[in-house]
């Protein structure tokens, strides 16, 4: 097969992206579990692990740049490498949101929340499943699937409004814990932003597979 080492380099980029996506997804869902179960030590560990995720993102970027410089990729290959760099950046941001949630958790006093968390874990589930689907679409080159995912962002928006309303009501009833309630809205906001990032990823996937620039 012509250009074997080039092909295997491209394959390496795909595998590394899959890994990075897994790490980012894990960071988000784990951070919400940590928040829910108030596991403070695990929170510190997750924050520390963010460095590894950043490094992997930079490694992927560098690998793509090298391939562009040395292999003169064009057309599909070029769009792939370009999109891979951008998607890596989005994944790194998503992981940062996870780190943010863990930080918020660390900043809240130990003990139960203003009310048991239900919608926030639900948001995390939706966001993470969107993320995994988007990466699958990218790696299996399924433009169709990629174009269906952004619609689920609506779910996240609805859940966010709900979380906000519930917490607002709670604050009015129990003004003493307004600080914790606000922090929880930040968490929900982070998760909503994860959804936005996934939509960006889907736009990149569509560009890679079809050459079309879309805005969802």
């Amino acid at each position: 097969m012509p250009r074997e080492s080039y092909e295997s380099n491209l394959q390496t980029v795909r595998e590394e992206l899959q890994l990075l996506a897994d790490m980012a997804a894990e960071a988000v869902s784990e951070s919400v579990r940590i928040l829910r179960d108030r596991r403070m030590d695990d929170g510190d560990a997750l924050i520390a692990r963010d460095i590894i995720i950043n490094k992997k993102c930079h490694d992927i970027e560098e690998a793509c740049l090298h391939l562009v410089a040395t292999q003169q990729p064009v057309a599909g290959d070029l769009r792939f490498l370009f999109s891979a760099i951008q998607i890596a950046m989005q994944l790194e941001r998503i992981a940062d949101y996870g780190k943010g949630i863990a930080r918020i958790n660390a900043g809240m006093p130990p003990g139960p929340h203003v009310q048991p968390l239900l919608d926030i874990p639900r948001m995390s589930g939706v966001a993470v499943s969107m993320l995994r689907e988007a990466i699958d679409a990218f790696l299996s080159q399924d433009a169709e699937a990629a174009s269906r995912i952004p619609a689920r962002d609506v779910e996240l928006d609805l859940l966010y409004s709900q979380v906000y309303r519930v917490l607002l009501t709670h604050v009015m009833q129990e003004p003493r814990r307004i600080d914790d309630a606000l922090k929880l809205t930040f968490v929900a906001h982070n998760l909503e932003r994860v959804g936005d990032r996934v939509v960006n990823i889907c736009e990149r996937v569509i560009y890679y597979l079809t050459g079309e620039v879309v805005d969802f």
């Binding site: 250009r3 080039y6 003169q72 599909g76 050459g211």
Partner: protein, 255 residues
């Protein structure tokens, strides 16, 4: 969108009974660089030579379809007149074994210019347009063969420019040159396209991508005839080609 400078419609070429080019239709835009790429033997040079009827030098060649320059059928025109309007630069630099001056003056002399002052002016402006004047102005009597490869090729370009053509055909003009000379030729093409329409055949895809505004991709079919597979703006062809065969070729996945 202005009228194309040259246009072919369903153009086929035969060596005796063998079909070498199969119904190629292309519009060559004016004052732009159009590149023709494709694997070896796909007919790109043959197609290029059709524009100035150089294939007629081969006995037994027959054509079908039309080729038009500014709307006129080139086969109905006088071939000498046609070759004045369409100049050609070849793969290996081929200056005549004469002086630099005589090389550039050859074309104008053939077409009737005798006045020495006029010839000198033409030689100077052609050498300037070919970015060679500064390097040779002090010794125009030197033999053309005494120049370096890159300079010789620019001399051939000056020679082609001296008859004031509208179109310049280049058959792999830089493939026999080192990288520095190649870049000089590419820069020159960028300058020339302001005043001339340029069609270039090249093996070097990066060169086609760097230099051309439009690209045509050709391929042989099972009958070994050359076909036009895709034609479009270079930027588009190299980022989102329409045909999978184009994508495979430019990504190096075959041929």
């Amino acid at each position: 969108m202005t009228e194309p400078r040259m246009r072919t419609r369903d153009y086929s070429l035969f060596y005796g009974d063998f079909r070498a080019l199969n119904r190629v239709s292309i519009d060559v835009p004016v004052n732009r660089i159009t590149a023709i790429i494709g694997p070896s033997g796909c007919g790109k040079s043959t197609f290029l030579r059709s524009f100035n009827r150089m294939n007629e030098l081969i006995p037994g060649v027959r054509t079908e379809g039309s080729v038009m320059l500014d709307g006129e059928d080139i086969f109905a025109k006088d071939v000498v007149d046609l070759r004045k309007k369409i100049g050609m630069v070849f793969q290996r630099p081929n200056p005549f074994p004469k002086s630099i001056f005589e090389n550039v003056a050859y074309g104008p002399r053939i077409h009737g210019t005798r006045d020495r002052t006029r010839l000198a002016a033409i030689v100077e402006s052609s050498l300037k347009a070919a970015a060679l004047w500064e390097e040779v102005r002090d010794d125009l009597g030197k033999s053309g063969l005494a120049l370096s490869g890159g300079q010789q090729q620019r001399l051939c370009i000056a020679r082609a420019l001296a008859v004031e053509p509208e179109v310049i055909l280049m058959d792999e003009p830089a493939s026999a040159l080192d990288p520095v000379a190649t870049l000089k030729i590419e820069e020159l093409m960028e300058q020339l396209k302001k005043d001339y329409t340029i069609v270039i055949v090249t093996h070097n895809m990066q060169q086609a991508a760097r230099v051309s505004d439009f690209t045509a991709f050709m391929l042989t079919d099972e009958a070994r005839a050359g076909n036009l597979i895709e034609f479009g703006p270079t930027k588009t062809l190299f980022t989102t080609p329409e045909d999978k065969r184009t994508e495979d070729y430019i990504s190096g996945r075959f041929g």
